[in-house]
């Protein structure tokens, strides 16, 4: 285990301290310990989704789901209203004696609009709330971080955290038995 965090100068503004793990299990355990230790501003980086991390990091942010629900409902009402308005007000047509507002025929349009608006809301609200697109992110200042999209698992405690302390946090990360610890320049 090599710790090259202390090799660098302390004067550089820090984004945080990053620990590297070999297996997803170690990362999940580390994330849980980090949360229990009282840290709030930390993030985990993995090559593929790990469902256990949600629970380990105690992530309960469901704003995207809420936006999607609102978008879906708007699409649903909008789609049905559009079909009804066109067929009964804008261009009323008698089709085989059916009522102008022919509900079964409007369901596909209503359904498609629900999915379309719901889906677009989900995609864009996710992008906006994640602050994407982000051309620059500090974590890429660590050379080994490219492995986060290959086979390594990373945990970064950010310097904005109230509990963050350069040496104490490093000692804490060391107690989690990482492969490496690195300083992340801002």
């Amino acid at each position: 285990m090599s710790v090259h965090a202390s090799d660098q100068t302390l004067s550089t503004p820090l984004h945080g301290l990053m620990a590297e793990f070999e297996t997803p299990g170690q990362l999940v355990a580390a994330a849980r310990k980090t949360r229990l230790a009282g840290f709030t501003k930390f993030d985990a980086y993995t090559p593929y989704p790990i469902h256990e991390l949600d629970e380990a990091m105690d992530l309960h942010d469901n704003r995207v789901s809420q936006c999607t629900l609102v978008g879906g409902l708007l699409g649903c009402i909008g789609g049905f209203s559009l079909a009804s308005w066109v067929s009964s007000v804008a261009w009323p047509l008698n089709i085989g004696g059916r009522p102008l507002i022919s509900i079964p025929m409007f369901i596909p349009v209503t359904f498609e609009c629900t999915i379309l608006i719901g889906g677009l809301t989900a995609a864009f609200s996710m992008l906006i709330m994640n602050g994407l697109p982000a051309p620059y992110h500090s974590v890429f200042n660590v050379d080994r971080f490219v492995n986060a999209s290959r086979n390594k698992f990373f945990l970064c405690i950010e310097s904005e955290d109230q509990k963050f302390d350069r040496s104490a946090t490093e000692a804490f990360l060391l107690s989690l038995n990482p492969e490496e610890i690195a300083e992340v320049a801002q």
Partner: protein
Amino acid sequence: MTTTDQSYATAPQLAETLKRNSTIAAFIGLVFLGLTVSGIFLPGGSLEQFLRSYLIGFWLWFGVGAASLLILMTQFLTGGAWGIIIRRQCEAGAKTLYVMCFGFVPLLVWSKHLYWWTTPAGTADKVIQAKALYLNYPFLVGRTLIYSAFLMGLTWLLTSLSKKEDETKSTAISALLEKYSAPGVLIFFILMTFCSVDFMMTLEPYWYSTIYGFMMIIGWVLTALAIIIANTTILQQEEPLRHGLTSRHYHDLGKLLFAMVMMWAYLNFSQLIITWSGNLPTEIVWYIKRWNGGWGWVAMILLFGHFILPFLLLISQPAKRNPAFIRAVAIYLVVVHAVDVFSLVEPNFTSWQAPKFALSWLDITAPLGFGGLWMALFYRNLPVMPLLPLGAPDLQKALNHGRSH
């Protein structure tokens, strides 16, 4: 047996519970089936009414058995933790077909009192005569024999191979199970489509719908999944599933149930929209009889109770992960699906010019009677084998599903 096998042994209390459940269910089944049969002679009943109610009860629960076989084959083909933990329940459910298939006999024997096309007046009808190549009694009997032989034969083949897999732990047998399941699913869908046509669609012999068979099968799968989920919450109270199950397993089963609720609505709506667009006299009759004269309320119960309500209940993730909640939804879905089968059968016997809602007390006792019988058989079949498939190659992986590494 190895020590690992020992640790998956069924807890003695659970074996007792299953035995007791079987006895209670058998008692309920006998009482209500007895009441249904006596309905032939009691006021408000007749042989005709008995057969209609019998068909409702039989179709609902025969379907649960058949769908158990279908889910069993599906889980052999797809793999996955959800399938391994419910495999033994699917096997126990499929084995009820050994008895349920004999339920076709009264329908065939008294066909003239239920299926108009088999009566002399029906066979003399011009439209029926044009369809006589398919709609003739000897062929109907022959087809029923094929359905029953297929269902019972495949159940026997798969359950005995699965038993062998348990004993030998041979992956060659696991591969065989997959190999037989693939054509099994295909033939199942083809044969059960014909079976749905023969015993349900020909109640209205002029009318036809190409999506009908699929609609029936998805209704069966929905009911079977609901029963399996509700029963899983019972099994989970003791070993071996007590420490084997996590909320993640319920989440997966809940997602499947949710998918079936949507599939049911999708298929029913597809049939409605095509009929609505065409508005042809032979096709629209089916909906006129199910919309006017009080039947519209049943349609509304199905729209809201069979789709919108369960859709809203099952859409939330915490709800699907909560065993008590999902059990309540599952039991509710079985009841509401009985209403669906009722609305598939009874309106056929009202006139389309002046439809009139009619509910016989036999329509309630027959599904309860068959339900009791089915559950009794299910609980009798369940303890015969270990509750987890010990020979399944992915058993450990399935049990670790949803746990931190």
